[in-house]
């Protein structure tokens, strides 16, 4: 194997000293930020060229967390490939499960019972709040507001408790699956979610008290790392990063999926496109998510939580040990899986980070011929150089926090 010179990142060969004339020269400094920097939220490496403290050039170098998730999915059955989707955006696994399940259901051409549809929306919105809480805590921590982090994780724990109640797992639940939910909602679910709905608005007010009018917070975020709506759109941004710049685009409203059209909620939109606007949008989104969850809990019907087709979902355990057909279904599903008709589908959902797209290609076999994930963080991170060039070094930390990247999703 040969090392191709053309394969090296251009940024590694930065000329740091430029001779202006015989007597003067302009010096810049190229430094590495990451991949082990605590504020890069994982393993993001930035190659920054600095003139004094001002960023002249920023080149993100990604791939440190590339785990070949798309390749892995190609050798698993549709039923089993679900678990790799949890590991992409590991702060919002249910949002990934949801996108994947909708894509597989679209390939199969099936819909799920009403209870599953509504419960999924409640769960995904809970996940959105949990994801935003991690974002709020960690991005405030990056800027020095340490106590916010502890409060946020206190409330996130309540949400993870709900997930644990449902699935037995706190984070990588795989609870939303193609065909419905893994199991019926547990008896205490309703009470626990309602308790959270009652408690959370007060807590949200606490966060606002801590940050929204805080002079230090405003100084560090207002007017920092701005990006215009046209630029954000041109770079393929989505989610709060795009809406912060004043572009009204939320997949839940623009292309309603899974029953979102029945819910009444608003889309917060910013105007300045700076870190502060992106901050406020996520804060207001949590409020809207609460509204959605409230409506979902009120509308949650009884009945089936899965499709009745036992070629797609496993039969109940008690039937497997007593019913011959159930045993065969169980065996066939776990060994072979189901075969969606050949074709390709694209499903876009609004994950906490933005527009999460699943492109699934079926060749009629039991394994996805191709699964591609359009990760919102991947596209949003592209716009980072545009945001930080010309800003100060310390603002890079604020900018990274404000676009809310998860490297597991960027690198896949």
């Amino acid at each position: 194997m040969q090392l191709e010179d053309s394969a090296r990142p251009a940024a590694l060969e930065v000329e740091d000293s430029v001779r202006l004339d015989d007597r003067t020269r302009r010096d810049t400094m190229t430094i590495n930020m990451g991949p082990q920097h605590p504020s890069t939220h994982g393993v993001l490496r930035l190659i920054l060229t600095l003139d004094g403290e001002t960023i002249v050039k920023a080149v993100p170098d990604i791939g440190y967390l590339h785990t070949g998730i798309e390749k892995t999915a190609e050798v698993k059955s549709y039923f089993k490939a679900l678990v790799v989707t949890d590991r992409m955006d590991y702060l919002a696994p249910l949002a990934n499960n949801y996108g994947y399940s909708l894509a597989v259901e679209k390939l199969l051409g099936i819909d799920v019972p009403a209870k599953a549809r509504i419960a999924r929306i409640a769960l995904v919105e809970l996940q959105r709040i949990a994801s935003h809480l991690v974002w709020l805590g960690s991005s405030a921590l990056d800027l020095g507001a340490q106590s916010v982090f502890l409060y946020c994780f206190r409330e996130r724990e309540l949400i993870l408790d709900i997930f644990e109640l449902c699935s037995g797992v706190r984070m990588m639940t795989s609870y939303i699956m193609p065909g419905g939910l893994q199991a019926d909602l547990p008896p205490g679910f309703d009470a626990k979610v309602r308790a959270f709905l009652k408690l959370f608005p007060d807590r949200l007010r606490e966060y606002h008290d801590l940050l929204t009018n805080n002079r230090l917070w405003i100084d560090r975020t207002k007017g920092i790392a701005p990006i215009s709506g046209e630029d954000a759109l041109a770079f393929g941004c989505s989610g709060p990063t795009l809406r912060g710049s004043g572009v009204v685009y939320d997949v839940r409203k623009a292309f309603p999926y899974g029953g979102y059209e029945q819910f009444d909620f608003d889309i917060p939109v910013g105007s300045n496109g700076d870190v502060y606007d992106r901050y406020l949008i996520r804060m207001l989104e949590m409020e809207q998510s609460l509204r959605i969850i409230q409506q979902a809990m009120d509308a949650l019907p009884t009945g089936a939580w899965q499709v009745a087709d036992q070629k797609i979902v496993p039969p109940p355990k008690y039937e497997v040990s007593s019913n011959m057909e159930a045993l065969i279904h169980h065996f066939k599903l776990y060994t072979e899986g189901y075969r969606p008709p050949a074709g390709e589908v694209w499903v876009r959902t609004e994950s906490p980070k933005g527009d999460l797209g699943f492109y699934m290609v079926s060749d009629g076999s039991a394994k996805p011929y191709r699964m591609h994930v359009r990760a919102p963080s991947f596209a949003n991170l592209q716009a980072l150089p545009k945001m930080v060039e010309g800003m100060l070094l310390a603002d890079v930390v604020a900018a990274i926090g404000s676009i809310d990247i998860v490297l597991g999703e960027v690198d896949r």
Binding site: M1, Q2, L3, E4, S6, A7, R8, P9, A10, I62, G63, H66, E70, K71, T72, E74, V75, E105, K106, L108, G109, I110, D111, V112, P113, G179, L233, A234, G236, S238, V247, Y249, F255, V307, A308, D309, K311, I312, Y338, R339, P340, P341, G343, E344, V345, W346, R348, G357, Y359, G364, Y369, R370, H372, R374, F378, A379, L381, Q382, D411, R412
Partner: protein, 218 residues
């Protein structure tokens, strides 16, 4: 075989109608005629297969059409069909913020006669294409022309091969085990050069790394 799953027990999915997709197809056939190779519809989604030669112009036309305004390039990806000629599908997902139109474009390239395929970049139409195209270059080995240099974005820069091609193995690399260089025992001094040019196998012996070995073979 494919119809086996379509049995009772699962309600059928409603397919949405997308009148703007029809308008997009009409625009493309009107402007480019023979450049539109095929139009397919599956689960309410329209896919237009285009001649790679007119791809960039078609994208520009779709972006600038007043009734469509595809302002957001949502995604570019590729699919490898090794038995087919041409071998690769390059797939573009377009969406419009203003008109809520959505369409999928496809260009087919590569194959036996063209093992290192090239296709024109759409970065001049949507800057968002940058990283998506680098990712396809990295994982499929498709080069995009008319833009800055191509580099690997996810895999290490000295990686050999393109992992998402179908002929790339899921496991079973010819690397010594453990291929990341081996865990050095804490209580023993490191042999010279470890971690840089040599790899250690599980029995503790040293082996030149893969780059060196292939140079030796050559």
């Amino acid at each position: 075989m494919a119809d086996e799953v379509q049995i009772e027990g699962a309600p059928l999915l409603a397919t949405p109608v997308n009148p703007l997709a029809e308008a997009s197809v009409a625009l493309l056939t009107d402007r480019f005629g023979a450049g539109v190779l095929a139009v397919t519809e599956h689960r309410g989604e329209t896919t237009v297969t285009l001649d790679p030669a007119i791809l960039v112009e078609a994208c520009r036309a779709l972006r600038d059409a007043q009734n469509l305004r595809y302002s957001l390039l949502e995604d570019i990806t590729a699919v490898d069909w090794p038995e087919r000629e041409p071998r690769y599908d390059i797939v573009y997902q377009l969406v419009s913020i203003e008109t809520r139109a959505s369409i999928r474009l496809k260009a087919q390239i590569g194959g036996e006669v063209d093992p290192d395929p090239e296709i024109a970049s759409v970065m001049s139409v949507w800057p968002a294409a940058d990283w998506f195209e680098l990712e396809i270059y990295d994982l499929f080995g498709v080069t995009f022309t008319g833009r800055g240099e191509m580099r690997r974005i996810l895999m290490p820069t000295d990686w050999d091969g393109h992992p998402l091609r179908k002929d790339y193995p899921i496991s079973g690399f010819s690397l010594p085990d453990p291929h990341w260089g081996g865990q050095a025992p804490l209580d023993q001094p490191l042999p010279p050069g470890i971690g840089k040019l040599t790899l250690r196998t599980s029995d503790g012996s040293e082996q030149p790394n893969i780059a060196q070995r292939s140079e030796d073979d050559a």
